[in-house]
Symmetry: C2
DNA sequence: TATTGCCCTGACTATCTGGTCAGCTTTCAC
DNA sequence: GTGAAAGCTGACCAGATAGTCAGGGCAATA
């Protein structure tokens, strides 16, 4: 039995997941306003009323999709060890972020859309957690600057450079592909991006005295 | 008379502009699918049928808004002088891009939405022009690297860092404000961003031997 | 004054969309 | 087997939405 006293059957869960996957695609490609319940049902291979059996409304369905996305992000925001080496902390963050956008492009794009819309649906909790995490990292960066372990730099701008660039590759997929003249970016492309971005961040912080070959 | 043989009256042009401004706001905030012709009419202070008098359909109205946006971008993509000093070329580009997003946040966000959607409405011409401009800049950067005037760096990644970061401040308005804990970013905030970004780009290229105070 | 043609609008419609519901089938505990 | 609850669905609906159109106003020209 689930929390509402309903039996949990594999059949029911399977359909629920089917619908959620279809909905994620639809919301990713068209946004909340552009998404159509009928199309979500068709692509999931179920009648529309079945979608409404599992999700009371379009908003409820979007909420369910969004909370999956949010869980992904939360799991990735690992706490930072301020005693650790600046170079490796920054490198870990960059690689984590690139990997996240590579593995979950749909989630990244849904998140991006939400942000672009002024995150009307996004929970206060996630907003707060994102802000607190950014503030903690900024504070650590400031400490490193005071300790002269890295060059002076606006911590928030540095965080935004990393954030913005990694997001960009997922958000502006079409634009990036157009400029690269590729149908899609490969694993190797993402690895090169990660290497390149790590190197750039290190140079910004003065952590790469000998220029590495790119 | 205009191209269709209609008299051009200040009254008619005024209304057209009124409707276009209202439409730009609506499309910026809600996207094409979320926009409502009725709301566009209401905010312009005209009846809905008047909107349809000037613009045959919602798509035609969106096209008109988008072509204004495109004109803005085209005007800003100044040709690059490859003989010029790398430091100032990169600085000019960064400052131009920051200024553009600061002065035309609505246009920037409409453009961002279009890109996020895989630019379905965007003309082949603009796609080509953007790609050609990026390729020209990338080629110049590669020349500078060969001439050892700047450190080795992946040119496209560098361009995307600049592009992504400046876009990010316009796109993720809500997120940025949330992390800065500000209602809106001031002119001074943008100036600081530009200074900071110029400094970071210069460090990436090894153009700032003596670290500047930030 | 009459004519012409842009400018404008209220009232209307076809269509689409999220959502409902009565009633059917399947599953499972006893 | 049987009762009950979960799983499921076709048919339907109310409201919203883009778009239409007949006709009125109005300024300029003849």
């Amino acid at each position: 039995m689930d929390s509402r006293g309903r039996r949990i059957t594999t059949l029911g869960n399977h359909r629920r997941e089917q619908i959620l996957r279809s909905a994620e695609k639809e919301f990713e490609q068209l946004g909340f306003a552009g998404a159509r319940m009928q199309r979500i049902a068709d692509n999931a291979g179920v009648p529309k009323s079945n979608v409404h059996y599992y999700f009371a409304s379009k908003e409820a369905l979007y909420d369910a999709v969004l909370s999956n996305v949010v869980d992904l992000w939360n799991a990735a925001l690992a706490p930072i060890d301020p005693e650790a080496d600046p170079a490796s902390v920054l490198e870990d963050y960059v690689r984590m972020k690139v990997e996240l956008t590579r593995r979950y492009p749909a989630a990244t794009r849904i998140f991006a859309r939400e942000v672009l819309n002024g995150w009307p649906f996004l929970s206060e909790r996630l907003k707060r957690e994102t802000r607190e995490w950014a503030e903690a990292l900024a504070a650590d960066i400031e400490t490193w600057i005071r300790q002269e372990r890295i060059l002076p730099v606006d911590p928030r701008h540095l965080i935004f450079v990393i954030w913005a660039t990694t997001q960009h590759y997922a958000e502006s997929d079409a634009q990036v592909r157009s400029i690269y003249r590729k149908r899609r970016l490969s694993r190797a492309d993402h690895d090169r991006l990660a290497d390149s971005l790590v190197s750039m961040v290190h140079r910004i912080c003065g952590l790469e005295p000998t220029p590495a070959p790119v």
